[in-house]
Symmetry: C2
Subunit: 150 residues, 2 copies
């Protein structure tokens, strides 16, 4: 199913900005809104900031995109929506990459007690340093390490 069909299938109008955003995020997974805007403007120079945000919202609501919001960094978007996977985030530059869960069934993702909350999803974020920031080419600001994984 190509992007046009994908959009129609969700009852969304097929517009140039939407196709461009989908294509961009396909090419640049984990792109920020700003990155998307810049990339889309290479083909469609008049596209506005709002158009990009509207499109990102529409596509996210339709389930074509997944939004990642690492603390302290702008939101990022990816097209991997079917499976459940997690993310590593670089403390230095905010770079994001995918991480598949090491185990098939994750016991710790079934919380022991939820204080009466109805839980519908669990989200795991790994924090660390990406190769580029570790390499010293772009020395990352070092933050304190908090909450080690058990």
């Amino acid at each position: 199913m190509d992007d046009v069909e994908l959009l129609r299938h969700r009852g969304l109008r097929v517009t140039a900005p939407r196709r461009a955003v989908l294509a961009t995020i396909g090419r640049l997974p984990h792109a920020t809104a700003e990155t998307v805007l810049r990339a889309v403007r290479e083909d469609l120079p008049t596209v506005s900031v709002q158009a990009v945000y509207d499109v990102l919202h529409a596509l996210t609501d339709a389930g074509l995109l997944r939004r990642i919001e690492p603390a302290g960094h702008p939101a990022r978007y990816e097209r991997r929506v079917a499976d459940n996977h997690h993310h590593v985030v670089c403390r230095g530059c905010g770079a994001v990459d995918d991480v598949d869960c090491a185990v098939g069934h994750a016991p710790c993702l079934t919380p022991s007690s939820t204080s009466g909350f109805t839980v519908d999803s669990a989200e795991v974020t790994y924090w660390g340093t990406c190769p580029a920031c570790a390499g010293g080419t772009t020395p990352a600001p070092v933050h304190d390490v908090v909450a080690p994984a058990h």
Copy 2:
């Protein structure tokens, strides 16, 4: 060790705003900066916004506070820093509560492959609805459910 000793022990000056912030977060775990500001001003009416942010930063850097930043909600602070625990966040009102991991050792928190990232911590956030929002007293805006836990 009382709060004064705690501050001195970390080489921090003991000031009224710092003591008030510590006391407030002890009383109101998971408070936002704004909540802290309001609570502190009951005792110290002249405390400024920056004082609160500065204090929250200083105490967080010193390891006396832990900062939680749920996507789409203002940051929250807690004094439980010694152990590792996770959080449930209400999609409706942003309320946060503690969740202890169901298992002692968490296999899924050891990522399978980290694309060259050096991982120093893992963070689990459960998303759901708190009793108040579910109860209909304050009907929460319903967002789409994403990324179910496996």
